[in-house]
């Protein structure tokens, strides 16, 4: 029984190493409900990656859904006890699979910090997401954004509200043509369209881009956003950090930093997270929140050929 760890697969070892990392910073494991009432997800449908859920009628007649997401359940159960909740989970969620033809059981690990969250906790969560990617032992990138940058940019250029959705879509796909066409339709001047394109599609290594991002700040909201990014990535090896404002999050939920993790050789994002104070407000809870999810199915799925 000496080499008990030897029987673990590399994937199981990686998950254990994530757990050890999270627990070393005082996070405790929790178990989330397997289902919630359907209307709970319906009320928060914009937070979910897909509107499609697996629903069923429970024995008492209530319409329920297999959980498509864990964060909502965690906020619902832990979001109002007044303290600082440092939690993590390993759960399966049920969402449309990558082909979009059928539902898939998706294995996910995640970490949430809810309640009295300050600057130190925000930095800690970003550090943990960075270290999680590092633990995979493969080349990785952590891309960081902030909702305030694009939101502030749109306000400073007085983009009419009805055009903002289409602009966000073009920014998310780094599509300069789509962005310009929408900006023209929204009545922006040529000069402002050029500036919008330059600022919104700004991305690259943190060390190179952060100063340019500061230069593009047109108001205090944008300035605060870049300042918070700078503070949060301070101390992390900047060669693996990118600034990328194409990372998208619904403003009804996300309130600050947003970030995504990528592993070389995988075809999709393996980690995503952000500050979601607005979700707490929406659910009538006090405090602030930040967290991230690691998509284990993506992390341990088939490798791409080089």
């Amino acid at each position: 029984m000496e080499n008990l760890l030897d029987i673990l697969s590399p994937q199981e070892r990686t998950v254990l190493s994530f757990r050890a990392l999270f627990e070393s910073k005082g996070y405790r494991r929790i178990k989330a409900n397997r289902f919630e009432e359907y209307r709970f997800y319906l009320e928060n449908i914009n937070f979910l990656r897909s509107e499609q859920l697996i629903t069923f009628s429970d024995l008492d007649g209530r319409l329920r859904a297999l959980k498509p997401d864990v964060t909502l359940s965690i906020v619902k159960h832990y979001g109002s006890n007044g303290g600082l909740n440092k939690l993590y989970y390993i759960e399966n969620v049920y969402r449309p699979g990558p082909t979009g033809r059928s539902f898939a059981e998706i294995s996910q690990m995640g970490l949430e910090c809810i309640g009295k969250v300050g600057k130190a906790e925000v930095s800690e969560v970003l550090y943990l997401s960075y270290e999680s990617l590092k633990l995979t032992g493969k080349p990785f990138r952590l891309s960081v954004s902030h909702v305030g940058f694009i939101a502030g940019l749109m306000k400073s250029l007085k983009v009419p509200t009805q055009y903002r959705g289409a602009l966000y879509e073009s920014i998310a796909s780094k599509n300069p043509l789509g962005l310009r066409m929408t900006a023209e339709a929204a009545g922006l001047s040529g000069e402002n369209i050029d500036f919008l394109q330059k600022a919104a599609l700004l991305s690259g290594g943190a060390d190179k881009v952060i100063d340019t991002a500061f230069k593009y700040c047109k108001n205090s909201e944008m300035h605060r956003a870049v300042g918070q990014i700078k503070d949060a990535i301070d101390g992390l090896d900047s060669s693996n950090i990118l600034i990328d404002f194409s990372i998208r999050g619904d403003e009804d939920y996300y309130s600050g930093l947003m970030f995504c993790g990528y592993i070389k050789g995988r075809s999709r994002v393996v980690l995503s997270g952000g500050q979601y104070d607005n979700m707490l407000k929406k659910m009538n809870k006090e405090g602030r929140a930040i967290g991230f999810a690691l998509y284990l199915s993506e992390l341990f799925g088939g490798e791409r050929h080089a």
């Binding site: 599509n175 300069p176 043509l177 990528y262 075809s267």
Partner: protein, 206 residues
């Protein structure tokens, strides 16, 4: 080495010419013999030809790092990729077409025949118009002639086929052209390389 999925056919040939003019390729892509993939080691690029409607799938799933695809397919399949550049070639329009004298008076559900189900659905949803979408694989122009549908949603290049069948463009949904797309993960690791390719291609197509 970055891999690029090109669409088989004229569009793929035109793009390969752009790549040659940009100094990223040489030779004739149609003379590959039995080879399915050609490499240009100097440029660090690998090309392969696939069915036009499959390009975005290859790129989204990471089997290709970059790809050239029509905006029609991109919009219809809603692939999760970066859309980096409009190549300004393969230009046409996504349109609603129907009999010249057709007037939609809103008195009943409109029957729409199309290959582009998602684009048609999204368009009519934005207008708040209730429609029955009839998915067809080809010869869309036939549908209103045989009473299968009231109108069609399809690509219009010159409008010649429509004219020959007594159909007319009733509304334009969006302009279509070829786009350079990139896999989102590859871009995080190779952004400077990909941006350089975009810049060179932009210079050539100007």
């Amino acid at each position: 080495m970055l891999s690029i999925a090109l669409p088989k056919g004229r569009l793929g040939d035109d793009v390969y010419d752009i790549m040659k003019n940009a100094g990223f390729a040489e030779g004739d892509i149609n003379n590959m013999g039995r080879k399915l993939v050609i490499e240009n080691k100097e440029a660090g690029l690998r090309y392969f030809l696939v069915k036009p409607s499959d390009v975005a799938i290859y790129v989204e799933h990471g089997a290709a790092d970059l790809g050239i695809v029509g905006k029609d397919i991109l919009e219809e399949d809603r692939a999760d990729v970066y859309e980096l550049l409009d190549l300004g070639i393969g230009k046409c329009r996504m349109c609603v077409a129907g009999p010249k004298d057709f007037v939609d008076d809103g008195s009943r559900t409109l029957r729409v025949a199309t290959k582009f189900v998602n684009i048609a659905e999204q368009y009519y949803e934005s207008l708040g118009r209730e429609v029955d979408i009839i998915k067809l694989g080809g010869s869309i122009e036939l549908a209103p002639l045989l009473g299968l549908s009231d109108v069609i949603v399809d690509i219009v290049e010159t409008g010649k086929t429509l004219k020959e069948n007594n159909l007319d463009v009733l509304a334009e949904i969006m302009p279509i052209s070829a786009r350079l797309i990139a896999n989102k993960v590859t871009y995080q690791f190779q952004s400077s390389n990909i941006d350089r390719i975009c810049e060179k291609m932009t210079e050539v197509i100007k």
